[in-house]
Symmetry: C2
Subunit: 286 residues, 2 copies
């Protein structure tokens, strides 16, 4: 997905939020914002917004020396969501169609996104996901393709959110599917890393692999070779969240995008409304 | 009031909104956004956010040739608010303290601000202004100072909103006060111009004067000499809205600021919450 003009104010909003978490020094915060304004001059709007996210957050780390500004928030949400696991499993257990319900639970957790949002309401997101229809729901195709595979590549999105993913992975396990769960290579915004995955026990239900990505999404040219091989040999991929959608929506791979549309640009790209939940098969699969 | 870092994302939001009203050419919209990013490098954050607003909107006019992108919206709100005049007068007439009620009506109209906001709800703003306390209300001092003067300089803010101001001006007239109503020198965002004032019949209740301002506020160095003389010889000034507050809050003049705090920066400056209504006497008056 290419970068839209609406992304520009959002880049600065995101930069300010992250810079303030990274340092209390207002001069440094200002320098970072002005640097982003300069970077914008040469930025190709044909690349994805995640490319700019990568530049922004790398620069924040350089200027402030803080390599993980979101660490405290990540731990807080890992803890909060981990303590909800029992409740989330019960929600799934009550359903006749556990797979469908687990998709709803997983997508509810996608609200925990400090890239797209500065504040959010997790309870509202759960309520919405359980009580409203998916705006796009390629569920029949999802089941057909899932039936054809023994293994699933699940590309994770954010810390905390992964406990919601875990509930879906447990359902996939119960269907006999082995899951590889891909995490980012380094801390970026509140995106999931190996440390978060371990904290939330993802290694107990999946094989946790490192994509090597240093961006808040999955830009394949910046991922490690093992992950790229894994990606292109996978028969079934779940790509979670907006960052993975933005970076993988043009890739020819058997991907199902599972996300909550949290910004007008992604919502427009998907022809849905902000707040809608989506399970969309990659274009060429349909 | 100086410019805060939070103003930066907002400059770009405002630029995009105005650029889109001014032209459908996306390349031009992008060029304008990039130009603002360049201007930011040399911008003094000791000046007010309105200084940047002036630069932004001047540049939009230059690039697009559209000297009044908000014209349609302004006319729409002039019309809408003009048709509410009867209702607004009734709200005031019902009150024991008509002056207090008219201040509430006038501040309710301050929501019609396409600089600070992209969308708003006028009905909610009226309901809030009539039913909730002012967060700052220097009303006793306002009455004392008003008692000492026969003339009021009323610095207007936005098109449409001026019909709400008109109701307050009518109350001032009924108290024997002559009012001079200052409008901007050229169209900028949806700020009030002579044309808007005439459309809403402000000339029937006040002497409409042109401040000469080419900014969405009142930066005295850019105003015309007559206005600056008027300003410094006035015994009683009502400055309406955030733009006038941002640009006049450090001036030593007998000003009462009447506004709704619509952004976190102005709210913080006033030590109130976003959405609060305020009647604040200039610092040195208190």
């Amino acid at each position: 997905m290419r970068t839209h003009l609406e992304c520009i104010p959002c880049f600065f909003r995101q930069t300010l939020h992250a810079a303030r978490l990274a340092t209390h020094d207002e001069e440094k915060q200002k320098a970072i914002l002005l640097k982003v304004a300069r970077e914008l001059q040469n930025f190709s709007f044909d690349s994805t917004p995640v490319e700019m996210g990568r530049i922004i957050h790398r620069y924040i780390k350089e200027v402030t020396g803080n390599v993980d500004p979101y660490r405290k928030l990540k731990m807080e949400y890992n803890e909060l969501a981990f303590n909800m696991l029992h409740q989330l499993r019960e929600i799934v257990d009550e359903a006749d169609d556990k797979l469908e319900r687990a998709l709803r639970v997983a997508v509810a957790g996608n609200i925990i996104d400090f890239g797209a949002l500065t504040e959010f309401n997790l309870e509202d997101s759960i309520h919405h996901a359980l009580n409203f229809d998916f705006a796009i729901f390629d569920y029949e195709l999802f089941k057909v393709k899932l039936n054809d595979t023994d293994t699933v590549l699940y590309i994770g999105d954010n810390a905390g959110e992964i406990c919601f993913d875990r509930v879906l992975i447990e359902v996939l396990n119960s269907m006999g599917k082995k899951v590889k769960f891909a995490v980012r290579g380094i801390p970026i915004i509140n995106d999931v890393t190996v440390e978060d995955a371990e904290h939330c026990g993802i290694h107990e239900v999946a094989d946790v692999i490192n994509s090597g990505s240093d961006a808040p999404g999955t830009i394949l040219k910046y991922c490690n070779d093992e992950f790229v091989r894994e990606f292109f040999s996978s028969k079934f991929i779940i790509a979670k969240g907006m960052g993975n959608y933005e970076t993988l929506s043009d890739e020819k791979a058997p991907i199902f995008f599972l996300l909550k549309a949290k910004c007008p640009v992604v919502a427009k790209e998907l022809s849905v409304s902000v707040g809608d939940i989506v399970l969309e098969a990659a274009r060429w699969l349909r």
